[in-house]
Symmetry: C2
Subunit: 336 residues, 2 copies
């Protein structure tokens, strides 16, 4: 029952032509190579009849191209990355490319390992949400002229293609919104990572306070440890809200921090209302269905994915070196 797949040799034999001829035909070079229509037809019929598919591995070995794009993110199950993954996959598939993905969990060593692995698989291009410490590996890809697009995280030391979101403006706008409705004690809940996308959010918050002549109060900024369990974060937030009863607005710098925040409030029986406003980062059903509905900063996932893919294919479709682009898209503040 275990029927071995047909090879190009089998097709050539059946059609009574050479392997070369079959190769030309299945690669659409038949006319260019002066193959007669009779032979073309004969071969194509046999190919269809037996359902022959060229072995992609052999093809990759010979051509150096695998028609695979690697997608490396922190965690594929994070809704933001999952959405990007889905959109990128769809767009790449239409152009004949497949996605192979992996999660780094923010470990630079895993990043290194993955890049080496993908290199040995002759992957054609890389879409990476980078971790700090992986600069050398990413640079080595670019040295080998492999198309690379970074997204979400920015690595300032790397002259790479990048697609991201204007987090400074997003949190500036969010904070401004609070200030303009006369909230006086605006808290910021963020994480203790020193990566650009996170520090940008803090800067936006600070600058907006400044613009409204509100003092920046250190104790209203909570930086929760990156890998902390949710329960602990909730406790920490309960602590913050209890200790600083003057807080009348809070901006959460990530999706899951907002969720922990709402959990904390629920636990305290504290309501979100005009005396205590909340803005979350990355919109989701959770925030739409919450009572009351929660405002949120929404990242333009569709645009991000589109831009990533177009940058990749711009490089894939030419042998020339294309200028690197840094694209920063605006986020959208959804007020509810």
């Amino acid at each position: 029952m275990s029927t071995k797949a047909y090879s190009i040799k089998d097709i050539a034999q059946k059609a009574n032509v050479s392997i070369t001829t079959v190769s030309f035909i299945i690669n659409g070079k038949a006319v260019e190579k002066n193959i007669s229509t009779a032979v073309i037809k004969r071969v194509e019929e046999i190919v269809k009849a037996v359902g022959y598919k060229p072995n992609q591995v052999a093809r990759s070995l010979r051509t150096g191209s695998s028609k695979i794009i690697a997608l490396i993110v922190e965690d594929i199950s994070n809704p933001f990355f999952a959405s990007i993954a889905r959109l990128v996959e769809e767009k790449a598939y239409k152009r004949g490319y497949k996605i192979i993905y992996s999660s780094t969990e923010n470990f630079p060593e895993k990043m290194t390992e993955l890049i080496n692995l993908f290199k040995s698989m002759q992957v054609d291009a890389y879409i990476i949400s980078p971790v700090q410490g992986a600069e050398k590996d990413i640079q080595s890809l670019m040295n080998e002229r492999k198309p690379v697009v970074l997204f979400d995280r920015y690595l300032p030391s790397l002259a790479a293609n990048y697609v991201g979101v204007d987090h400074f403006k997003a949190s500036y706008d969010a904070t401004t919104h609070f200030a303009s409705t006369y909230q006086k004690h605006i808290a910021l809940v963020t994480i203790d990572l020193e990566v650009q996308q996170i520090t940008d959010r803090q800067e936006g918050y600070k600058k907006a306070l400044l613009a409204f002549d509100l003092p920046f109060r250190e104790h209203l900024v909570l930086k929760v440890p990156f890998n902390q369990q949710k329960e602990e974060t909730v406790e920490q937030l309960v602590g913050l809200f209890k200790e600083h009863k003057e807080i009348d607005a809070v901006l959460f710098a990530t999706n899951y921090l907002a969720i922990s925040g709402l959990s904390a409030l629920k636990k305290m029986d504290k309501l979100v209302n005009d005396n205590f406003k909340v803005i979350a980062y990355d919109d989701g059903e959770v925030f739409k269905l919450h009572s009351p509905q929660i405002s949120a900063v929404e990242q333009p996932v569709e645009e991000i994915a589109e831009k990533i893919v177009s940058l990749i294919f711009k490089q894939l479709n030419t042998t020339e070196v294309v200028a690197k682009e840094q694209v920063v898209l605006p986020a959208k503040l959804i007020l509810r």
Copy 2:
């Protein structure tokens, strides 16, 4: 700058030995093949020094094995599938395998296309949440002795490995819970797909009603069209709840139906309470944070992933034909 990767030939030259010897060494067959420790050491040092990684494509071509497992699901951005993807990836990675994934959007033709593509990539195993109409393609994989594990969806006509959840019992229990708290008019909101995992949920609902001497009322079962837009579903649900004010409990057969349901209730300003209970399918933050908290049927994602992976590797680690297993795991009813 574009430095070409080292090949086994380069290593052989540098070490002044044959390609064969290098191959034996990097594959851990050195002692078995009587290579002297001096040579082993020399080669290993060169390998490390230049950072040589065997070309996986050439390896695949020669051995027929790619160390890649395909994961084919309906939609990778669906939280259930995204979680499974993440867990499967992690477990496979530890055993030296990578995941390549794709979404079918429930189109059998895309499934066919994907399977052919993955065959031509010499993928080693397949994890599939199948669509109806793909039976032939899946069977062909099994005929070629490729390890295959189906999950989530069950295809009764196929004697395949399967990992799923006891949906009959889950909705039986959920409905029983309603009945035992004296809800009399229990509605079921489901989709119009005739796939086992969905019809099972209906059967569980029916049987539980029967057990409590409650009549099965056709008009309390709403089957929303599979690909319907969310807004329309919400309208339909508003209609249902308005028309049948006697409804005092509703079981939602999927995650997103429950979300649509909660949106509908919010729109109607109708509260979830003892006079109107709700149970959702697939737990999530949305339900924990909702006011009041929403009860939910939780699928054991971790166990599902573990079982899938263990079934895959059971097949991958032997040349013998292993008996197919159908594993049905219990869901957990989380009452809130």
